[in-house]
């Protein structure tokens, strides 16, 4: 039983980083630019399809395929921001409506091009690590490592660089930030493109683990938003922790409770945490 629990703790942490990367995108776009972009799940799905197509369709080596897909999704995110989302700043309802419309368009395009038939990528890195009876697939470990590095890089960039401090300043007072020389339009576009790139990267890594279908984005944006709210919108490391809490809740919950409802276990955590900390687990008090 101990092996089972430890194994699922590890698996929950790894799966949770995939939720966390989406949560990070959500927290950056909403926390910094004030834009609600639920299409990040669709961007993730698109990133998975692009990676699969570049790798299995065009024969590009997988790591390069992921990079290309990530860049392509960053571009998609930038265009979506400039054409649609920048007009929805600080307007939750408009952001939601634009997101729903954009998700429908993206899913429809994917359906037309690749149909809803699941696609399976070749095995990028088969095999497992075995440590004291606990099994971790090698590719999952790599995915965890890459995502962890990206999350730490994002945290460092936001807290240790001028651009990061400018982003926080923009989040608190856009006018004052502009008066201090921050190029707010460039900053907003950059955050939108970076958030989309995170989702695209998540999708590219996802494609190496699971089969891909047009509806995968819906589940992941739900988990990403869950993780971001659970952590408290605006907290980078909180997003990471939120994703992991949900991943672990699902993994360990499935051992002791019926596995058919494992999606609900993360939600139970979310409700419990919001009951006691309505602003989220890692939210900084405004007082």
């Amino acid at each position: 039983m101990l092996q089972l629990v430890v194994g699922q703790l590890l698996n929950g942490v790894i799966v949770g980083t995939l939720y966390a990367i989406i949560a990070l995108g959500v927290t950056l776009t909403f926390g910094i630019t004030g834009i609600v972009n639920f299409a990040l799940g669709a961007f993730m799905m698109l990133g998975a399809y692009f990676t699969w197509y570049f790798s299995d369709g065009l024969g590009i080596p997988y790591p390069l395929a992921v990079v290309l897909a990530t860049l392509a999704i960053a571009l998609v995110g930038l265009v979506a921001d400039q054409v649609l989302f920048r007009f929805t700043r600080n307007n939750l309802i408009n952001g939601l409506i634009v997101s729903i419309g954009l998700i429908s368009v993206i899913v429809a395009i994917v359906l037309m091009v690749w149909t809803t038939t699941p696609q399976n990528m070749h095995y990028v890195l088969p095999g497992v690590f075995r440590v004291g009876g606990v099994i971790v697939p090698k590719m999952k470990a790599v995915v965890f490592g890459v995502l962890l590095l990206v999350i730490l890089f994002t945290y460092a960039a936001l807290t240790r660089t001028w651009a990061g401090r400018a982003a926080y300043a923009y989040a608190q007072n856009p006018e004052a930030a502009a008066l201090m020389g921050v190029r707010t339009k460039v900053l907003q576009a950059g955050v939108a493109a970076y958030s989309a790139a995170l989702a695209g990267l998540g999708g590219g890594l996802y494609a190496s683990l699971y089969s891909i279908t047009p509806e995968i984005g819906a589940g992941y944006i739900l988990k990403g938003v869950e993780a971001a709210i659970l952590a408290g919108i605006g907290s980078v490391m909180g997003s990471f922790a939120g994703g992991i809490i949900i991943g672990v809740a699902e993994g360990v919950g499935s051992i002791f409770l019926p596995s058919a409802y494992n999606d609900a276990y993360g939600l139970v955590f979310l409700v419990l945490i919001l009951l006691f900390k309505p602003a989220g687990l890692f939210a900084v008090s405004s007082r």
Partner: protein, 394 residues
């Protein structure tokens, strides 16, 4: 002068309309419309896709051969086959259009139980007006009930003395299997499968554990780890390739390397051939082998490649042509010929149940309207070595 021209124009127009009406009427009298309600795309398209592929070829072949003659009159076929995408609401709209607008009397499909449940109520209201010939497992339970004369089941039943499921369980028993863990989608077919196989394994003296997952699940690690801890001899995963690829890959990573399945293709086994130990699958026909020994199968493979202008034949999907597919169109035509009518669905149904059709499969319908066919059990072992056992139900 002006009025004479108008009269001539009016007469000419009237004659034109009349001629068109006669021509249209004559055309519609000589066309038998057949419909198909199947998922051709989507996560659950494993079964419907091949059916629609095979039906198109059969219709094309019959029409190119000049059609068929019933009671001294020549007919051709018109196939109406929209894509349900596995969505019951979509299927219901499509069936309504077929029955009410297109006046279709013969509808093939669905294979999916959830889709059948979605259209069942509407279909029953039109009992006696059309035939629904589908492979859905739930149809088995509806055959023979009052008001269900419209139903024919175009797939063989899992259970019963000569059911493929029973023979598959016997196959495991002969291997000395003591414990099987089922991992099934928590949906309509999943529960039907559990009901059927719970009894079958109990009768065979094999312990049967049930595990479920939500539709849309991609990471099965948690439930597979739990199953692995119980050390079952075989994993019985369900039930479409959409989930089987993920389950088989993740199961092998956790040390579960033996699989037994009654729905799904050999694709997941072949992709993971270096990691599995055994993958026993019910395959209605192992086309790779049959193509070499059965001329009708060889002809079908060639016809497929020519019709779809492709060098690749879908060997993994082709076995599912055993339901509402190529043979079934030919069989329906034979039944209409025997019945001497294309309109009287009751007579056509009686005729359908009166003979054995010798096509890609030897197909007959039992007294309840359920298909009985020969099939194969395919056993894939580590490295991809394949053993085929041919079964001919009584």
């Amino acid at each position: 002068m002006k009025s004479r021209v108008s009269i001539v124009k009016a007469v000419a127009a009237s004659l034109g309309v009349a001629a068109l009406a006669v021509a249209t009427g004559a055309y519609s009298q000589n066309v038998v419309k057949i419909g198909e309600i199947e998922a051709q795309t989507g996560a659950l398209n494993t079964y419907g896709w091949m059916s629609s592929q095979g039906m198109r070829i059969a219709v094309d072949e019959i029409n190119k051969a000049g059609g068929f003659e019933v009671a001294g009159k020549k007919y051709t076929l018109q196939l109406i086959n929209p894509d349900t995408q596995g969505n019951p609401q979509q299927a219901l709209i499509q069936l309504k259009t077929m029955i009410e607008e297109d006046k279709v009397k013969y509808v093939f499909g669905p294979f999916l139980t959830n889709v059948f449940k979605g259209i069942e109520g509407y279909a029953r209201q039109h009992n006696g007006q059309f035939l629904l010939m589908g492979g859905a497992t739930q149809i088995h339970y509806e055959l023979g009930k009052p008001g269900n004369d419209y139903l024919v089941r175009t797939w063989n039943w899992d259970a019963g003395p000569s059911g493929f499921g029973t023979l598959m369980v016997d196959y495991l028993k002969k291997k000395g299997v003591k414990k099987v863990a089922m991992l099934m989608q928590n949906d309509a077919f999943g529960h039907v499968a559990a009901d059927v196989y719970r009894d079958a394994f109990k009768k065979a003296g094999i312990e049967f554990q049930e595990n479920w997952f939500e539709p849309g699940t991609k990471d099965y690690s948690a439930v597979l780890a739990k199953i692995s801890a119980g050390s079952p001899d075989y994993l019985f995963p369900g039930y479409t390739d959409a989930v089987l690829y993920d389950i088989v890959q993740q199961a092998t990573q956790l040390g579960l390397t033996k699989f037994w399945l009654v729905r799904g293709s050999l694709g997941p086994a072949l992709k993971n051939k270096d990691y599995i130990d055994d993958y026993v699958a019910y395959i209605p026909k192992y086309f790779e082998e049959a193509e070499k020994s059965e001329p009708k199968v060889k002809k079908f493979v060639e016809a497929y490649k020519a019709f779809y202008k492709t060098k690749d034949f879908p060997y993994d999907q082709a076995p599912l042509c055993s339901s509402s597919c190529y043979d079934h169109v030919y069989m329906l035509v034979e039944a209409m010929k025997k019945a001497g009518t294309v309109d009287d669905v009751a007579k056509v149904k009686n005729a359908l149940e009166s003979f054995t059709y010798d096509g890609l499969w030897k197909i007959r319908y039992d007294q309840t309207g359920e298909e009985v066919i020969n099939f194969d059990i395919v056993d894939v072992q580590k490295g991809g070595k394949i053993t085929v056992t041919h079964e001919q139900p009584r």
